[in-house]
């Protein structure tokens, strides 16, 4: 028969487990948002090898569209989401047409600048239109309603996000693996010139990728804003950077890699913040990057990445 | 006679595929060797291993008595084993002349400090490097392109540039991977002449992969024939030409041209 002291330890152990568990759930929650952003990011990145720093800003455009439509016109959420996806796609395609297409045959570094410029442009435009002030962003009660699972609480939106990530991953993977356009996408990411010789309209392919990427950006914006509850014109930058990291961590060009990368980042952040002594938790971001570097040392092409096929 | 290069039972596996399965050879100084074989026989893989680009799965390589199995490529190059690539690997964004100078600088002796300070030794040696590079370009007959960017050259000239580049690097042994691919018969003939001259002038050995039988037969003194990762025949050209295994797997009717 356990002494009372032993029983206390038992209790603490259980509590420690639930504590760890709830932090893990926190990580999954954050990770699913990152994954959501990363998946859209990876659509474009995988094909064009374009670090699209404007991705986060397209996300911001989407979110502001939702906000304006719902506050100024009182539209229901589903309608605003549809319109915001459409607008994000338009912005993405315009950026593609104006800033990326003329540079299609240029190097990766060149397009990088162009995407940074688009990002600066969108950010400042948003600042000028909407003021730099943060604004509150509310989801309808049905989506922000909290469900309790034991000690863990999750909102409807959290659950939707989690499911959406995998659903979208599944759909996109299917498209890329099994459809004509998907095949064309992979071909383009491999060798643009040869793709043209196969009769692939690479413009169509790239435009499609941008459209999907931008549309997903708007959706992920909704999820991010829903979680954070505030929005501001510069909100896209950090998630964009994180998505880039996630995509690289998972392996360039791999959608499931991007999702995995997103989750790894989210969980690592949360577990570090939740489990480490508070003296070192300010090193959270540093830790995430150290982790990233360590992972890359072990797998230089990312977790799910494959080595490029070139040989001597 | 001391061997230049001794290869014993070299093997390479790629995830279950035995690309090279026991390659052994002995190369002497100042000789030209041919390495022929079916497509995918493992010829390029052999050269990759000799030059250090790939690590052998088994076997050993000795160069002038020194073991170089699995050594770093730059060390092997410094010993004097230099190679070209089947799929051309030029330094595309720099000029033709600089491509060759990069080869030539393998044994430069000035330090970076001397370079920064612009000391006499630096300037003299730079001039020598340039001289050497220009000579090599002339030797390969592409001196007219010296100032062009390497990637704007026609294919054949790019092939020659690859050879000029390694010639500048004071080679003892050249490993040439299909140097005549993309050259027309006339140019191939020219290449044969050039290679002969080069061998005389530099006193080096050459191991040559080539599918153009005219080139192989008129140049090589000894030939290794490979198929499916293994040597199926070796010997002097006329022996190889008549070898039924080689004819069946590799030459086909072409034997008559050779």
């Amino acid at each position: 028969m356990p002494t009372s002291k032993e029983r206390i330890w038992e209790v603490i152990e259980i509590e420690e487990f639930t504590y760890f568990f709830s932090q893990l759930v926190n990580g999954l929650k954050l990770g699913s948002v990152y994954a959501m952003v990363a998946i859209g990011y990876s659509m474009v990145y995988g094909i064009l090898r374009l670090i699209n720093f404007a991705h986060g800003d397209i996300m911001t455009v989407g979110v502001y569209t939702i906000l304006v439509l719902s506050t100024a016109f009182g539209m229901p959420l589903w309608a605003t989401v549809i319109i915001s996806v459409i607008i994000a796609v338009c912005v993405g395609l315009t950026a593609e047409r104006v800033a990326y297409r003329p540079l299609r045959t240029a190097g990766e570094e060149t397009t990088l600048i162009s995407s940074l410029a688009v990002s600066i442009f969108l950010q400042n435009l948003m600042v000028m239109i909407f003021s730099p002030q943060r604004k509150a962003f509310h989801l309808p009660d049905s989506l922000s309603y909290l469900h309790s699972f034991g000690t863990v609480k999750l909102s409807t939106m959290n659950i939707i996000t989690f499911i959406a990530v995998f659903l979208i991953l599944l759909i996109l993977s299917y498209i890329i693996k099994n459809t004509r356009i998907g095949m064309a996408m992979r071909a383009c990411s491999d060798n643009m010139n040869a793709s043209r010789l196969m009769g692939i309209n690479i413009t169509t392919v790239i435009v499609t990728a941008f459209a999907i990427g931008s549309g997903l950006a708007a959706l992920s914006g909704l999820m991010l804003a829903g979680e954070y509850k505030t929005i501001d014109p510069l909100m896209g930058f950090v998630p964009g950077l994180k998505a880039f990291c996630a995509a690289v961590l998972g392996g360039i060009g791999s959608l499931s890699g991007a999702v995995l990368g997103g989750f790894v980042l989210g969980i690592a952040e949360m577990l570090f913040a939740g489990l480490m002594p508070t003296e070192i938790t300010p090193y959270r971001d540093a830790f995430v990057f150290i982790l990233l570097i360590v992972v890359l040392l072990i797998r230089p092409n990312g977790i799910l990445g494959t080595k490029d096929g070139g040989r001597s | 006679m001391p061997e230049l290069l001794t290869v014993n039972g070299l093997e390479k596996n790629f995830k279950g595929l035995k690309a090279v399965n026991g390659f052994s050879a002995k190369l002497s100084e100042n000789q030209i060797y041919g390495l022929i074989g079916t497509n995918g026989a493992g010829k390029t893989t052999v050269i990759n291993m000799l030059s250090g680009v790939l690590k052998p799965s088994a076997g050993s390589v000795f160069f002038r008595g020194i073991e170089i199995t699995g050594e770093r490529p730059d060390k092997i190059a410094k010993l004097g084993i230099l190679r070209t690539y089947q799929n051309l690997r030029l330094f595309k964004k720099v000029s033709v002349l600089q491509n060759v100078m990069i080869g030539a600088q393998i044994d430069k002796s000035y330090s970076n400090i001397e370079a920064i300070l612009g000391m006499t030794r630096f300037r003299q040696e730079e001039r020598k490097l340039e001289e050497k590079a220009l000579n090599m370009l002339e030797l390969m007959g592409i001196e007219d392109y010296a100032k062009e960017r390497a990637d704007s050259l026609p294919y054949g000239a790019q092939r020659k540039l690859e050879i000029a580049r390694i010639l500048a690097a004071s080679p003892k042994l050249l490993l040439l991977d299909e140097p005549a691919a993309g050259l027309n018969p006339q140019e191939s003939l020219e290449l044969v002449q050039r290679l002969k001259k080069i061998r005389e002038e530099f006193e080096l050995a050459i191991l040559l992969i080539e599918h153009d039988m005219k080139v192989v037969m008129s140049l090589c003194e000894y030939i290794y024939a490979m198929a499916a990762g293994q040597i199926i025949a070796e010997g002097e050209p006329k022996v190889i030409r008549e070898d039924p295994k080689v004819i069946e797997a590799y030459l086909g009717r072409a034997k008559k041209d050779a």
Partner: protein, 391 residues
Amino acid sequence: MRLRDSDLFKLIIFVLLPLAVIVLCGRNSSNYYAGLINLFGINIILVASLNLVNGFSGMFSMGHAAFMAIGAYASAMLTLSAEQKMIAMPGLPEWLISLNLPFPLALLLGGTLAAATALLIGFPVLRFKGHYLSVATIGLIVIVRAVLDNEDQLTNGARGVTGLPDYASTWVIFSTAILCLFILYRLIKSAYGRGLAAMRDDDTAAQTLGIHLTVKKISAFCISAFMAGVAGGLWGHMQSVISAKFFYIDTSFKIVETSIIGGMSSLSGAVVGSFLMTFLPEFLAPLENGATFFGVRLPELYGASNLIIAVLLILIIIFRRQGIMGYSEIILESIFSRRTYSSLLKKSEYINLCIIFKNKAVGLIHLPAEVTGRLSKKFGTDHNKREEIRK
């Protein structure tokens, strides 16, 4: 002969004119114009050193700001007075608190510490290629910032360090910038630089030509970091205030931007890019704060200059993909070649220049054939082929 081939003309445009401006503006280092010029000088160091890694060696680092930060903090630790250090950095060891070094030495040590950091992280990180390396170097910035923000005892945390003595005068900055450019230029034009280019264009081929990749990569990374560290030190002693947030990702991106705009594989590009990115925003600033133009008062439109710069960046990149200078070095060639300076002493150069200007002025009137013929013979435009190639 065209105007831009005239050595004397190059001398005037690329050496004498800038020198005059620097001298004029740099007399009072705390002056606004001097401030801009100083910034220009520091940007040159930053961008040129980044080009060594990104343009000439084909790695793609985005972590330059981290090395700046290290250089800035380290040099500050050496130039601040003991009292200042007691307040801001009480965690420093005793000997370091009392240590006070001359500025150049502090700069060098700051650069050395940055280079040491580069060496340390270079071994693991430089094995990555392309974007993997980019992410890792962004990570370096984040890590450095985290340390600077949280090691309150050594860095004064997020508060930053103030009161750095303003040693970084225009003279110091520009001598350093020119020295850096000179060193980089000589390196690039030697076997070392060609080796880097080889590595950039094809690392496998470079290796089989006897180039030791690791040594090359790490050395380039360290040299670059060293110079960034020095630039950071200069920057700190120019602003007299440093704080981790000034050396963050946005700063780094800006350096990368400038580098690409000017031309990553050209040191002259670093100069041109820095010039553009330093002065363009200043030039556009009046547009935003409701200036009066021809009696019309424009509305205040903060952010407009950023929009314009963004558009310009895209345009430049579209029309000059390799950056403004591409792969060419005309500016530095003019600055660092003896020929340029000897042109000052040659009478023929003046005559040449006069003729060119006269031609321009008169329009497209051609000199009589015999004159041009004589001139070109006399001034030796008729080089033999090898000389031509050499140039």
